[in-house]
């Protein structure tokens, strides 16, 4: 059994519970043990870096320090916002020893060396993909629009993951499941992110463009890897539909759910029953 460090973050315990459920079910299916970073805390996400730089670095730094203390060589971070915050923090601190010292003083812990921070797509590539074909029972035989959002591939200089524009990794994984990824231009288009609560009207407009484009280009599902994107595309669908004055019912799936469905996991295991836009399997 492979043992890997795991940082769920707040979303996976709240609005993206189904994401957590599908990640866990996949891990079990592929004989992987995901071990949570002990006593983990908030990554700071959208709020902290607008308010206080040291705070925005100290929060993720503490998570990294906790992981290091627990002897973890890598941590799996399914939430794209957490992944971004942890990666950027690690990069900044190991580039700037002065800053690192300051942050270490604040959290009263030290960071000795960088650890591997993997997003869910990298996790799948490395640990799931090699054994995927033998587990597929029901190929995901549909046109899909792979939607990466902003945080998975940016800032490119730091993450060095996939192409900045028109990324490809999720498309390739979906192909392995038997799906037909469409060529579309909005893979990294803004979904409205954290404005979901404060400016739902803007989210309806921005996410609406994405849903409309995916539908018009023939996608039967939108595949995502970010709780924020999912929330905006799925949870805000009624706002989107009233903005566009048309009923769009293309479902939004986490990539882990898509893999789970293809591998024959039930709705409870993949969590698709929790979606607001109904998924027909």
């Amino acid at each position: 059994m492979t043992k890997l460090g795991f940082y769920p973050g707040c979303s996976l315990e709240g609005t993206a519970r189904e994401y957590n459920e599908s990640v866990m079910s996949l891990a079990t299916l592929f004989d992987i043990q995901l071990e949570q970073v002990p006593d983990w805390n908030c990554c700071g996400a959208t709020a902290a870096h607008n308010l206080n730089k040291i705070l925005s670095l100290s929060l993720p730094a503490r998570i990294l320090a906790q992981a290091e203390k627990a002897g973890m060589k890598e941590i799996i971070v399914p939430c794209a916002a957490c992944y971004s915050r942890l990666s950027v923090t690690q990069h900044e601190l190991f580039e700037n020893s002065e800053l690192k010292k300051q942050v270490e003083e604040v959290m009263d812990m030290t960071l000795s060396s960088p650890i591997r921070i993997l997003n869910v797509v990298q996790f799948i590539q490395e640990f799931i993909l090699p054994h995927l074909s033998e587990k597929i029972v029901k190929p995901f035989d549909k046109e899909v629009a792979c939607y990466y959002g902003c945080l998975l591939v940016r800032p490119h200089d730091i993450l060095q993951f996939d192409r900045l524009e028109d990324p490809q990794t999720i498309d390739r994984i979906m192909e392995q499941l038997g799906a037909k990824p469409i060529d579309w231009p909005f893979k990294t288009e803004c979904c409205g992110a954290g404005l979901s609560v404060s400016r739902t009207d803007l989210v309806a407009k921005l996410s609406g463009k994405i849903v409309k484009e995916a539908t018009e280009r023939g996608a039967k599902a939108i595949i995502t890897a970010c709780p924020m994107c999912h929330a905006n595309l799925d949870m805000r669908r009624s706002a989107i539909n009233s903005y566009l004055a048309k009923k769009y019912d293309v479902p939004v799936l986490y990539i882990t759910q898509a893999i789970g469905m293809a591998c024959g996991l039930n709705n409870k295991q993949t969590g698709i029953y929790r979606h607001l836009v109904k998924v027909n399997n």
Binding site: R163, E165, D166, P185, F186
Partner: protein
Amino acid sequence: MARIGVFICHCGENISATVDCAKVSELAAGLPGVVYSTDYKYMCSDPGQSKIKEAIREHNLTGVVVSACSPRMHEPTFRKACAEAGLNPYLCEMANIREHCSWVHEKGDATTQKAFDLTRTLVEKVKNNHPLESIKVPVNKTAIVIGGGVAGIQASLDIANGGHQVILVEKQPSIGGHMSQLSETFPTLDCSQCILTPRMVEVAQHPNITLYTCSEIESMDGFIGNFNVKIRKKAKSVNEKLCTGCGLCTTKCPTKNIPSEFEQGLANRTAIYVPFPQAVPNKPVIDRANCRYFLTGKCKVCQKLCPTGAIDFEQEDEIIDVKAGAIVLATGFEIKNTDFFPEYGYGKYKDVINGLQFERLASASGPTQGAIRRPSDGKTPEKVVFIACAGSRDPAKGIPYCSKICCMYTAKHAMLYKHKVHEGTPYVFYMDIRAAGKNYDEFTRRAIEEDGAKYIRGRVSNIYEKDGKLIVRGADTLLGGKPVEIDADMVVLATAAVSCDGSESLAQKLHVSYDPYKFFAEAHPKLKPVETNTAGIYLAGACQAPKDIPESVAAASGAAAKVICLFSNDELTREPIVAKVNRMPPPIFSTCMGCEMCISICPYQAIDKENITNRNGEVIKTIAKINPGLCQGCGTCVAFCKSKSIDLEGYSNKQVYEEVLALLNN
């Protein structure tokens, strides 16, 4: 007994802001052997130089130390001043207290002390200087021009018309460069080919110009006035002497689908081809990488057809040795292709093209005979978006500089499009309109006001294709960043101008410096814009930085003037900083033992054997002899000589030891 004069320069405030110049002068006056010391605001100025001359005469000086800027800057100035006062110029030395001291340190006693220490070492050195005479070397009055674009053509013609021989080396099968690809030129809209092709023909017919196409520089050694260059003339597989240029071979070549470089991939060519109808020389070459015979061993159709038997599949690359007195670099530029832009589709959209491709579309000799048709389906585009600064002025793309030509040619493109497609709408996204130049601003205004090009100040964030249209999304920053979306039929990127592939290795072969973007570096950005740091090698055109046609031509004529100036001398005066084997009276003659070690290690092949004979002509001793015309004063032989028989004039071991000792014996 040494009588040294010391002159401390303030360099305005460049030195005096951090160094107490009066104090340095005062301390220097106390050094043994120094009989005169003073400081002055600008030592290089006329009154400053007069101070030195007067002091030489009044105090009967035997040596001069000027503590000022780098000797690279003003050593010739001060040595000339000394010579005018009757002192041998090589008895004048400079202590660099600007670049090596005042510019790099804070104001304070330590900085002043360092300026004094630097001065002191040179005082000790100059005490051991002895008069030297400059060396004369002959000048070979042939120039090599590398690159046959408009700059290379202009430089070649100017030098050749000055009565000197020119060897023009061009990498491609034809001269003409990018200018031959252009449709019309700004700001006059005259036809590019019409003004260029007569000059190309002139090059081919000029009795003083030898043209080598498909050729590149293999290696270079030597120095100003005496360069030895090897040129690799690549196999064309066509015997130029036999070929009449009838073109029959190109009509029957079975390989017809090779994207034409000249047409920027918008049309195809055959494997045996002439790049374009007006090519000079107008004789075909075989592209071996695509030729069926070279790929499969079968075909030879062209050989069977050729009425003069000019096709030669066995032809090999030829190395040509030439000697020249000067070299002009005119290798030009390249532009980034559309695949450089992820946000504009990584080059996957056929109707997103670069500026040179648009030139071909607009050119009467182009693939569409000058009709503006988009590459994907040949339809006339109703809306064309031109994007200036595609890659340029974008540090994130590694190109922070302005490509300079794009503002003007984009205005020209918008105009040409409007002149050919009256009902069409050209949009131009721009950062700033940089139209500095004679009649340039008027030209861009004409594009906007008379031809109705819609200029939008802002950047384009991305382009995607939908229902046969290219959706161009950008922002109008004059309207507070308002998002703009245009459903265009074609998009033209004014992609960044960059240095040519291979310019770095060429610079290294020629010992020419280059900037971080691999453009060749001029010797001085203002006062020596066409010279390089290597004497005898000059720059013309866009190989130095992006330049438009008038600028390239002006630089080329400037470089040619420099070459002709150089060639107006039969001999060149060289610094006498050369190595010398010691000589002494018989019976020793020299401490050199004739081991010949120096001969084998001299990088310039400047050392030979010399037989010392008696009256009867019998060889008594063989020693090394250094040819002062070839010696570059590198000092390698000095370090290698086992018997310490070689010394470098102006930098003798004694002089350098005294400098070091002066520093140590504080």
